[in-house]
Point group: D2
Chain length 350, copies 4
């Protein structure tokens, strides 16, 4: 594969790291060339170091790959990050400083003012922020991030409505899958036959990230979207797929037909550029009265599409609907891969 | 048991019928003397006619009881109803006409203007509506109903806030247990590892019942509470206990301490009268950041208390919190039994 | 698709019927041309008549297809049957009488002495039995069946051992997925957080079918395999994939290496013929100590392979191991499709 | 409570430690006076140190109790042990050496030749082994253990059969609840919609403990029961209650009636002595064809009874049946409490 770009994965053994490996198998542009994880894994073959939790097998080439130390020396120049925030906060600057394009799923730097938080279908123009990063000046390295798994499906569904009708208020209640908490993550004793009405720090992330993502690039900073945003986050006994009950108020009044047309017709830049991981239709409105459902619909668009359903009037705000998005594909690894594809398409890889 | 009042159960073999039998075992005032169900069950011993789905055993006396035809002849004068709405709509008037006190969990007549929809802690005064019922004039019979399982926990939590601070807006998103759909109810293929974002007609019931319950008795009619109310209902893989993510706006501003005090200090009429099924504290505020949870908390107050937690500021309305209530005890059979206790205490049995 | 053979599906709307449609989408030899189901569905478009429960979409051509009456008139000459046994018992003879090749997943005629019960990898020679069927003489029609979903994975795993070492005793304990009970099938109230240690008539089928499948064709009858066979069947909260804990005694002693080699090296007729639905390796031995597991492994070989693991000594018999097989693919629709492929390859369609 | 015996709990914060506290609340003979856990918990109030996972509240007196260092100084003379084996192996000798009666649920010393492994209904006479323990001679301290959660229900069901008909062979396949693995224990990502056919070291324990429990005290050693015993252990998505599919061969032939009578009529020493935690009927045979089931039956006899069902002929051995037992009550804390009650009744406390 002479023409593929070598990429590395920081945090390769976790649930999101596994999804990176799965999504990059056979990728037309990128090739996994380097894996790093915690010290405990260093030097071991990936297949032994990781506790693989996906239904497809570990790609043969990756299974034998040795886990490298989590240091920039010897790492490729494109690095995907699937680390916990506390570790990412230390490591991402080191890799950016060393000249790497750091494409991160971690929450560590998402809200930093000079770090773009990007969904290619929504705010690809925010990438320009990287030119303000000190690393960029020094070594050409930079950090680009993608949002939390609970925010991304929602923001995809909100984006065409915000553009067409301007959001005033957004209320979101989530029912989130256990894979969002990593592995081992949520104990079975906590979630079997249960709902946990709390995910640490999730509501704050969901609220502030939504406003940054739908914000406006003004000069070299992002002006967050000014609508009011409130989130309530719950964990449910679902493996993959975050389901969300949403209510919104719009500034310009819209009919149900107009809203559904805005969703179904949404074809932003990644679709126009035919980026390899961009789903043909990023938002799919389902007409059945009881859809979307995580077990049946979270793999829509190879896990990269957002499913929406049940649009109906709301007595308190204007409209209510249900959003579903795959939390470890579109909500994590796939989000970062799509960011990398956009960066490449825009010439940010050298 | 010479002094106990004989009661009958219409729809005795279903999930709610079973809860009636369980809750009435050893009841100090009432004694199950008559059971009716569908034609298929008629004449069979209860233990054979029902598919018992509770963890406690069928009370011995009930197990042997023959299932009677679903007709007023020979039935006691106090009848609990656990029938589907379509059948209840036909039968409840027949029993009321025959002079029975019909205490119904069915939705059939709940919204009829002369039928009281009652939670004893909230609107016991609405019982006076029965005097307008044509059956009452003819035979002294009447119909009293209790709300839907998704409304009752919410309305209990709202009542002291509405009294003290006046509600302006209420947004509710539910995560409802499968037992709410009866037996066989929700297919396992539909709910294992899944969320179903739809329950037929549930949102409409929840919205209109909440406003009737918190409405005001003016002369001989109920003026529904004027706040805006919006519900989104989901089914989750939980056996018992409906969890709800709530947001409210209040007319009078209140602090978190005032709201929690209003909940914890709520001691309305059923508690003052020490009705046998009234929980000592009808609303319990839990301070742990991740409670209430259905598996651990739905049996609070023997399933008759409502648990509330996670009170925090909302960016769109004023406050957000989580409500949990046992859907087949407080949300169905227990609601009707408590209504019967209130009726007895107020002299409506005789 | 001019060269494809038209096939029909009796019982097309159920869970197994849906799997037939899914597996036949894009099949190189067969094309779904006719669908029948209960009277209730007749005349409706398939997409409306069925409650589709698979993760892939209904193939577009099938979605619009009208559901036909369940009668041989107008039906194609190759008919897959996904009916309940009680209905199949009546209908299969009608279609065979009318000259159809009836390839059935139903249990109705499986144990009838002139009806072959076939797993292509195990006992393709049993197909010869059809020449004794009265329908065959009259109209060239016939009935071929595949085994119960609990038997097929086990028998695949036993076949190479029986051939090489001769089975003396087999003990099987199953943990079966809910999809095996059809839709709506198992109520969620029965299986959430539970095990049901009983499946009506399942143990009897599993025992007698295993002996017929591993039996010997002598002249025009099957001499059942003479080993002792005992089954205990349980239902667990799994969507797809039957897991089985097996113990066996062999007549010829064998080492673990020999047994594993017999499994991994098993390449019978369907693999040699490269039948389209035959998995490249029908039995896969997994070396990880905790595999196979239904959620991760039931799709092995596109759901057509049997996974085996945990081979170890048994203190009572000789060996213990775990078997896993997809119950609605290899255990139902896929079994019948593979039977059809073998029939075609052997010239029985024509 | 002047006359109660003070007891301590080693490993008080885990799932089994919590069950000890729950079962000892209001115990007529014992009173929790001392709690110890890992260093991390030392000095903190129990309510803060533990992550309470039971449906009943922490007893008020215990909630405020300070967690002590895990050392004999200051500990009561009766110590219940709920520690992991690796830690118990070090600590149990220290407490016995210091003169404590160590009543352990840990597997550390269970198979040591001078340590009794006891189920009061089965082999109370084995307690005599403690007189051979070196600690006993020195300080009057000793160690008594109870079996693994997978063995105890089975051995209870086997005991009356072994006494009456003599076991020759036993095959057991378990479907074990997640609470058996402690907290956090089994990850939800591993068990939702899944079966794990492996529990580390469980089969070995189950086999050897069953033979020791049903063995014979000869002089000062236990002669293990000579029947062949084979176990296969699986984890399923059940909160509490181990379900087991059992097959046995008996030396003396017995009818189904005789076997059921042996179970239902079993009234050994703990029942005759009316020990406080002994269930009135230790083995309950259920006649419904689909019982016992963990969700409905594991609380039989307050979690201390074993439920048995589905007795039927086996083609390989003689009989098959299903056993169910609560794994953290009868299978852990309750087993140790009942052992303590027997020790007290026999005068070993003093």
């Amino acid at each position: 594969m002479p023409n593929k770009l070598a990429v590395g994965i920081l945090g390769a053994t976790g649930i999101v790291g596994q999804r990176f490996i799965q999504m990059l198998e056979g990728h037309p542009w990128f090739e996994v060339a380097w894996l790093a994880a915690s010290d405990r894994s260093e030097g071991r073959a990936y297949a032994e170091a990781s506790r693989w939790k996906l239904k497809t097998a570990i790609p043969a080439a990756v299974a034998k790959m040795k886990v490298s130390p989590a240091k920039p020396d010897g790492a490729p120049k494109i690095i995907f990050v699937a680390l916990d925030a506390s570790i990412a906060r230390e490591m991402e600057p080191q890799f950016a400083e060393a000249g790497c394009a750091v494409i991160s799923n971690s929450s560590a730097l998402r809200m930093q003012s000079d770090v773009p938080l990007v969904i290619p279908e929504v705010n690809g123009d925010h990438i320009a922020l990287i030119e303000k990063q000190s690393w960029r000046a020094k070594s050409r390295g930079y950090v680009v991030t993608n949002p939390n798994c609970s925010a991304i499906g929602l923001v995809l569904a909100l984006a065409p409505l915000h553009h067409a009708f301007t959001l005033e208020k957004v209320m979101a209640v989530t029912m989130q899958a256990v894979s969002g908490a990593g592995y081992p993550g949520v104990a079975s004793l906590d979630i079997l036959g249960n709902v946990i009405p709390y995910i640490s720090n999730e509501e704050e992330k969901m609220e502030e990230e939504t406003q940054k993502l739908l914000g406006t690039l003004i000069g070299s900073r992002i002006d967050p979207a000014p609508f009011a945003m409130s989130a309530q986050c719950n964990r449910v006994a679902v493996e993959d797929g975050h389901t969300e009950s949403i209510a919104i108020r719009l500034q310009k009044k819209a009919t149900a037909e107009e809203i559904i047309a805005a969703w179904n017709g949404f074809r932003p830049e990644p679709q126009q550029l035919r980026l390899p991981s961009a789903p043909a239709q990023p938002i799919v409105y389902m007409t059945a009265p009881d859809r979307p459902q995580p077990r049946f619909d979270c793999d829509a668009g190879a896990g990269m599409a957002t499913s929406v359903g049940r649009l109906r009037k709301c007595n308190v705000l204007d409209w209510k609907f249900t959003v579903l998005s795959h939390n470890t594909i579109r909500g994590a690894a796939g989000a970062a891969v799509l960011n990398a594809e956009l960066l490449k398409a825009k010439g940010y890889f050298g």
